[in-house]
């Protein structure tokens, strides 16, 4: 099972690089959406021998939330705000990709320093998680438009979800559902604000948010 799981994690890590290299918002949103679906499949793969309703619930909620609902909200926000489809980077696409690639290698190396339980050895969960965190940070810092920053935040959250999978068997559902609720609500509110920012500034350009400074 571990082989298939690692394959899926590897795909998710590949999507990180696509997200970093894409110059158009729809591609970025699609990358995030596909990553959400992959993440939803992972708990089922991990627990395939002792599948219960909790794991299925987490999987379904993840696919519905990260894979469908949030991307559709993002697309709606993009249409409603009538913004251009280009991403507009602070950090260029090639430097972003290089940073992402170096980060991925560093994540694999760093993950070796942390001890794992025998059943988790050989899984790519920790490197995948670290790489996604880093990708999220690069997008948060290196992109101008509010929607691409939201996508960066989502990839960051996906990285945390990947790490959470290590604990899916031991921690109560409360923690798991708390994550999903948070992601959905958080982006929902961010979406509203994006909408408001649009009305106030007539663009989603966070570079214009510079009135407040010393």
């Amino acid at each position: 099972m571990s082989g298939i799981l690692n394959l899926v994690i590897g795909l998710a890590m590949g999507l990180n690089l696509i997200a970093l290299g894409s110059s158009r918002l729809p591609t970025l949103i699609r990358a995030v959406s596909v990553q959400g679906v992959l993440l939803g499949v992972m708990p089922v793969l991990m627990e395939s021998e002792r599948l219960d309703w909790r794991v299925l619930l987490v999987a379904l909620a993840t696919i519905a939330g990260k894979g469908l609902l949030i991307p559709s909200l993002l697309r709606r926000a993009m249409r409603a705000a009538n913004i251009e489809r280009e991403v507009e980077p602070f950090i260029g696409f090639v430097p972003s990709l290089l940073l992402g690639a170096v980060g991925t290698i560093a994540a694999v190396a760093l993950a070796r320093a942390l001890p794992l339980l025998p059943e988790h050895v050989g899984m790519l969960l920790v490197p995948g998680s670290l790489a996604s965190l880093l990708t999220g940070f690069i997008l948060l810092i290196g992109r101008v438009k509010a929607i691409s920053q939201v996508c960066g935040y989502l990839i960051l959250e996906n990285g945390i979800f990947l790490f959470g999978l290590l604990l899916i068997h031991s921690t109560p559902l409360l923690v798991e559902s708390g994550i999903l609720l948070d992601v959905t609500v958080g982006v929902f509110i961010i979406g509203i604000i994006v909408d408001r920012i649009q009305r106030a500034f007539d663009s989603l350009d966070t570079r214009k948010l510079t009135a407040l400074h010393e």
């Binding site: 001890p115 960051l156 921690t171 948070d182 604000i193 408001r196 106030a200 009135a211």
Partner: protein, 480 residues
């Protein structure tokens, strides 16, 4: 049971306020439910319940040492809120009132959370709930502040979740069975996996430190406090940051139990000193008196961390400082709010001579300045004195020197701004603007009351409060 009431009552109040049809009478929900909350809290404070060790939620000694201050602050802010919302009757207040009450409920839950996951969920909920409060003014600048708050705060909260996972994995790796209550984690002690505990500590300190507003994760704070209404600033600076601080204290206790206490204390001391110094430098530069309060809050969060880093004596002093800082800062935010409303601008470039235009608020603002910069006889003087004593007692001479220098610079920065706006002759524009603002008892009495409480806390610290702080310290520093 009662600990649940503390959470449920304000939430019910929030739901009722959301359904209440009348904008003019709705603000009375705030002091009404605030009063019930204060009564419930102090009843529990006087009759501390026995909390089962494995309970996820409970009025334990740490909650008992801190939550009454937050409850009291909320009640006074709520009384101020009635007058404030009357002045701002042009803005709909349904969301504002409901969200404030919801935040009170969530703050009660956060202070009482004895479970790593529950603590995180409540902190997250408070973060999100505060969003509508920040853009109450509905201006472009308020949107900008909200966006930054969400982006920085959201990232911080995400990192604290990752930290919680790491701590969970530390327990699992050390043979734990997935019980993430702080009691269980502390009991596991040295059994926790060391590399994971260290990773968790860094992430949790950064995460909850963002919520507290420790430098360098403080960047959201000046924007948010600068643009939000005064009473929102008071509750954020006195209540929300306190939850994050108790979270840091609880996590520190787990890290210390695992044997990495000295390392945790060192990081706390460094980040605390760094916050004090950074805040002091920004205080010397800012020209906006509401942003000034935000930097002052960063400074005091740093002081709390320094206290927490100095062992049992320092932690007791830090809990004392939570009280004195919350009450004093509340008073400052309200008088600053009055001046801001009367003057129409928060910048010392436009605002002068407020001692003539709003004499009462200006007097309160100056008194609050001396209180928050730790002049006797106000509370912060005594709590900071205890922290300095604890620092010298544990041989941190250099840290004390940096700390005192930071305080001095902060004092210079604060007095520069405060006297800049209070003194002098008012500009005609400001004069005309301030005609619409009347200093009623409703907007002057609450900050005065908080200042009075601050003096009382300093001069006549009740013995029962001292024992409550010591009991909390015993919970956090169990003798082996």
């Amino acid at each position: 049971m009662n600990s649940l009431l503390l959470i449920v009552v304000p939430l019910v109040g929030a739901a009722l306020a959301a359904l209440w049809p009348n904008d003019r009478t709705r603000p009375w929900f705030l002091p009404g439910f605030g009063l019930v909350h204060v009564v419930l809290t102090f009843w529990q404070f006087l009759n501390p319940p026995v909390v089962a060790p494995g309970a996820w939620l409970g009025f334990d000694p740490l909650a008992r040492a801190v939550l009454p201050a937050v409850s009291l602050l909320f009640l006074v802010c709520a009384a101020y809120g009635v007058s404030y919302l009357r002045i701002r009757s042009e803005r709909p207040n349904r969301v504002f009132v409901a969200v404030l009450l919801a935040i009170l409920g969530l703050l009660s839950a956060g202070h009482q959370a004895r479970h790593l996951g529950l603590l995180w969920i409540t902190t997250e909920a408070v973060t999100l709930a505060a969003v509508p409060l920040l853009h109450f003014n509905n201006a472009p600048r308020a949107f900008e502040a909200t966006w930054k708050y969400l982006l920085v705060g959201g990232t911080g909260i995400a990192l604290s979740l990752l930290g919680s996972f790491c701590l969970g994995y530390a327990s699992l790796h050390g043979g734990g069975v997935g019980d993430l209550t702080f009691t269980a984690l502390m009991a596991q002690g040295a059994g926790l996996s060391r590399p994971w505990v260290l990773t968790a500590w860094v992430l949790l300190l950064v995460g909850y430190g963002t919520k507290m507003g420790l430098a360098p994760m403080h960047t959201w704070k000046p924007d948010a406090y600068g643009e939000a209404p005064g009473l929102v600033g008071a509750i954020l600076a006195g209540g929300v940051t306190t939850v994050a601080f108790t979270a840091v204290l609880r996590v520190r206790a787990v890290v210390a139990a695992s044997g990495a206490g000295p390392m945790a204390d060192r990081t706390l001391l460094v980040i605390g000193l760094f916050s004090v110094v950074v805040a002091a430098l920004f205080l010397l530069g800012t020209r906006d008196f509401k942003r000034m309060l935000a930097y002052s809050s960063v400074e005091h969060m740093g002081i709390l961390c320094i206290g927490a880093a100095l062992g049992a004596a320092g932690a007791a002093a830090a809990l004392f400082h939570v009280w004195s800082n919350s009450l004093t800062k509340g008073s400052l935010f309200m008088s600053a709010g009055n001046i801001r409303r009367a003057a129409g601008s928060p910048s010392m470039d436009d605002v002068r001579g407020m001692a003539i235009l709003t004499p009462r608020s200006a007097a309160l603002f100056v008194a609050g300045l001396f209180a928050v910069t730790a002049c006797p006889p106000f509370g912060p003087f005594f709590s900071e004195l205890q922290i300095v004593r604890a620092a010298l007692g544990s041989g941190h001479g250099l840290a004390t020197a940096i700390f005192l220098t930071g305080l001095l610079l902060a004092f210079l920065g604060l007095t520069r701004v405060v006297f800049g706006i209070v003194d002098g002759r008012p500009r005609p524009v400001v004069k005309a603007n301030s005609k619409d603002f009347v200093e009623t008892a409703g907007v002057v009495a609450p900050p005065l009351l908080l200042l009075g409480l601050s003096v009382w806390l300093g001069l006549f610290t009740p013995a029962i409060l001292r024992t409550a702080w010591l009991a909390a310290v015993t919970q956090l520093f169990p003798t082996p």
